[in-house]
């Protein structure tokens, strides 16, 4: 019996060896969750984003690993002096996976698709400034804006160009995506794996080097880790610090890291007591010890964060400039007294169901309780959390949000009076004025000054206590070369990656 098993194992080992030499260049990736769909204009979840972004689809512009905007499917562009007309020159020889050439018509229909009420794409707001898109010639697209839009080039990086034939089709791309990216869709076994293969007609010379990507869906963390250490998987992308720590130093395994664009936050409902009082919100900020959160919940891998991620080097204000970021429970208590609220201040905190957020919520609960609050945690099922979030049905909540490369995308919808994700019902005339102004500014320095002002104002008495930006890790086998972790969790750098034997 034992012998038979051993022989079976050996036999399987040989077979695996034989298989692996035949498909040596297929990158085996271990993911915790599978995508819910692959239409780039409809998906919202990270797993879907990681599979499609930069691999299957590309936008007119592209964001690099330092979050700088550069050419994508458009090789160059010009902006009119009034900032209201953008003219994009498309790259030559771009082919969709079905073999058709990509032309200006595809770009125009893509923009119509995202803006269409019928598609109801969650990306529509990113193109809110665009009035018309026209194909000047097969290689030239002109966008006319209603008003100048500073974040436009960053926004359109997230708009994947799709064939014009799917303009009104809501189902086709969800299960069988067609894009221009370096990898094309091959097979999808739900809850099993997604297989992408090399796109032979890809425009980028010499890439991709890999012959395919296989996204294996493995929900259990311990199982993924074992899979990487025994060589079955070659990449565990975008993992948290705890997982990285466990894989650090294992033979044949190396880590890549970058500062995450996503941030953890405590949201405060400013439409009802006690957080309608700015002093109470300030007290929360004084009560929170951000370094302790980083140490406790993020295993020291991260930095205390203000309203913008330090990953956005061009925009973020150094947190040392925010007075309330120096933990001071006594000051918090004093502020609560000043505010005239009954202590301890009893509040409920809704918690997004993710392990890191749950851990952070528990640490924040401890800290706030030491500074005159009495926080009750309400761990919710994801759907319920989202519903309460959307209906502003909360005192406070703990969550994690994906960040954006341009400040406008986050700030405007979140803090502008009536903003589409301003669930805090926050309203401040000065902030509104700054945000409205910065949105249409052409001058980079002036724009930066406006957002500095916004950050300083939001940091201590805004409706969000920003907590921390974690370090984002990827663990991989030594043989994987040329892949960089990106702050926005895109796996787009895999186009340049290869497996050394």
């Amino acid at each position: 019996m034992v012998k038979a098993t051993l022989r079976g194992g050996l036999c399987a080992g040989l077979m695996m060896a034989a298989l692996s030499s035949a498909s040596a260049q297929v990158l085996e990736i271990g993911m915790d969750a599978g995508p819910t769909g692959l239409d780039p204009h409809l998906i919202t979840a990270f797993p879907s984003f990681m599979v499609v972004n930069g691999n299957i689809y590309e936008g007119l512009t592209a964001v690099d690993k330092d979050l700088k905007v550069g050419p994508g499917l458009a090789e160059s562009w010009t902006v009119s002096p009034d900032g209201k007309t953008y003219t994009f020159k498309l790259r030559q020889n771009v082919k969709f996976h079905d073999g058709a050439a990509m032309t200006a018509d595809d770009v125009v229909s893509t923009i119509r698709r995202v803006q269409s009420k019928d598609m109801a794409s969650p990306l529509a707001s990113r193109l809110a400034a665009v009035e018309t898109a026209t194909a000047v010639d097969p290689q030239t697209v002109e966008l006319k804006l209603k008003e100048p839009s500073a974040p436009l080039l960053a926004s359109i990086a997230t708009i994947a160009i799709v064939p014009k034939s799917v303009e009104t089709n809501k189902d086709a791309l969800q299960k069988a995506p067609v894009g221009t990216g370096p990898f094309k869709f091959q097979e999808w076994q739900p809850n099993g794996f997604i297989l992408l293969s090399k796109h032979d007609g890809y425009w980028g010379a010499g890439s991709p080097k890999l012959s395919g990507l296989k996204f294996n869906i493995v929900p259990e963390s311990a199982t993924r880790q074992v899979g990487l250490t025994n060589g079955q998987y070659a990449l565990l992308p975008n993992i948290d610090a705890a997982t990285a720590l466990q894989l650090k130093g294992k033979p044949g395994v190396k880590l890549g890291e970058t500062l995450d664009l996503a941030y953890t936050l405590i949201g405060l409902n400013t439409s009802k007591p006690p957080f309608d009082n700015p002093k109470v919100r300030e007290a929360v900020n004084y009560a929170i010890n951000r370094q302790e959160i980083v140490d406790a919940a993020l295993f020291g891998a991260g930095v205390p964060g203000g309203p913008l991620s330090p990953a956005l080097k061009n925009w973020a204000v150094d947190v040392a400039q925010f007075a309330c970021y120096k933990p001071d429970p006594a000051k918090a208590q004093a502020l609560l007294k000043e505010a005239g609220v009954a202590m301890p201040v009893a509040v409920t905190m809704n918690v997004l169901p993710r392990q890191d957020v749950k851990d952070i919520a528990q640490v924040v609960q401890e800290q706030l309780n030491k500074a005159g609050f009495k926080v009750e945690l309400k761990n919710q099922e994801q759907g319920q959390f989202i519903q309460d979030w959307r209906n502003s049905n909360f005192d406070m909540f703990a969550s994690i949000n994906a960040g954006s490369p341009d400040p406008d995308d986050y700030f405007y919808r979140t803090f502008r009076t009536g903003g589409s994700t301003n669930v805090f019902k926050y309203s401040d005339a000065e902030i509104d004025k700054l945000l409205d102004g910065a949105r249409t500014m052409q001058d980079q320095a002036a724009r930066k000054a406006a957002y500095d002002e916004v950050q300083k104002k939001l940091a201590c008495s805004g409706p969000v206590a920003h907590l921390a930006y974690g370090t984002l890790f990827s663990a991989m086998r030594d043989k994987l070369q040329g892949y960089d972790v990106m702050p926005n969790r895109s796996l787009g750098t895999l186009r340049g990656a290869s497996l050394t034997p």
Partner: protein, 315 residues
């Protein structure tokens, strides 16, 4: 006999009808607006998007009409489409069915196959310390959390034999050895409680039977001990054995949900958990309906077998 079977068949239909109503209502009893919940986190939800989704799922119709449409098409074999991927639910279920079937089959094979010799051994060792030890062992096997056992097995095996621990799933038809290699641990984790349960059953049936008059008669007639045990006593154990296997399918399904999660096997349990996590209500309701219907059918077949095997039940 036909009468007994017909009565049960009638019960079966009533139960299936009841099950369909419960599943249907369950989804609609979700507090708040199910449509709002279906949409993702921290994204902008427009009224258009809500309305579009509502009409796609059919939630904008009167509730009776919704049920009739759903049940009517389910009867015709159309289980609707998955909300996000637009794939037919029937296809999704078929894809996920095989790994679960294989897992349950192997676990049953393991558990039931070993239960007979182990149970016989237990019966022979009755009384004394060995009996107590085996009994305690059996109860421990019954109460060990299978997901915990699974994780411990994975981690331990990764230390002991790193090359052997292959994870995930490959179809048997593609790579038979790799398939069995991957299924070994999960089916073992799942089989342990079955083994514990069935071996105790075999033991008590054997003890019962060995005390019966006809066995004594057989012995007196000089029939060999081996023949006594296997022919007469085991047959006695068959009926409770089959009943238990029927009940076990339910347990196996529940156990499979967590074990599939741990071992990354793309089976029905993962399908349901995933559908719940992504609020894919059409998928949830049809999958629960189909799985429960399957479970009810298995029990019906067990009942029918019972009637065929044991003439006393016919009355």
């Amino acid at each position: 006999m036909n009468r007994a079977l017909l009565t049960r068949l009638f019960d079966l239909l009533i139960v299936l009808f009841g099950v369909s109503i419960i599943v249907f209502l369950m989804i609609r009893m979700i507090p708040g607006d199910a449509v709002a919940i279906m949409l993702g986190a921290n994204t902008e939800i427009t009224a258009e998007r809500m309305a579009e989704l509502k009409s796609r799922v059919g939630l904008d119709r009167p509730i009776i009409e919704q049920y009739l449409i759903w049940a009517g098409s389910a009867l015709r074999g159309d289980l609707g489409t998955s909300l996000w991927t637009g794939r037919p639910v029937a296809t999704e279920i078929l894809i996920h069915l095989w790994p679960t079937l294989e897992l349950t089959f192997l676990a049953l094979l393991f558990g039931a196959g070993l239960a007979v010799p182990v149970g016989c051994l237990m019966a022979q060792l009755r009384g004394g310390a060995a009996d107590v030890a085996m009994r305690v062992g059996a109860i421990a096997g019954l109460t060990i959390p299978s997901f915990w056992l699974g994780i411990v097995l994975i981690v331990v095996l990764a230390q002991v034999a790193p090359g052997f621990a292959s994870l995930g799933y490959v179809p048997f038809s593609e790579d038979p050895v790799g398939n069995l290699q991957r299924m070994l641990l999960p089916s073992f984790a799942l089989a342990l409680p079955i083994l514990a349960n069935l071996s105790r059953l075999v033991r008590s049936a054997m003890l019962d039977a060995l005390g019966q008059d006809y066995i004594r008669t057989a012995r007196a007639k000089g029939v060999s001990e081996r023949r006594v045990v296997y022919k007469h006593a085991l047959r006695n154990a068959l009926i409770p054995f089959i009943t238990s296997v029927g009940i076990m399918t339910g347990y196996l399904l529940g156990g499979a949900i967590v074990v599939e999660q741990v071992f990354a096997i793309p089976g029905l349990g993962r399908l349901i958990l995933g559908a719940i996590a992504e609020r894919n209500y059409p998928l949830i309701q049809s999958t629960i309906l189909v799985v429960t219907a399957g479970f009810v059918l298995v029990n019906f077949i067990v009942d029918a077998l019972y009637i065929v095997i044991d003439p006393r039940v016919r009355a």
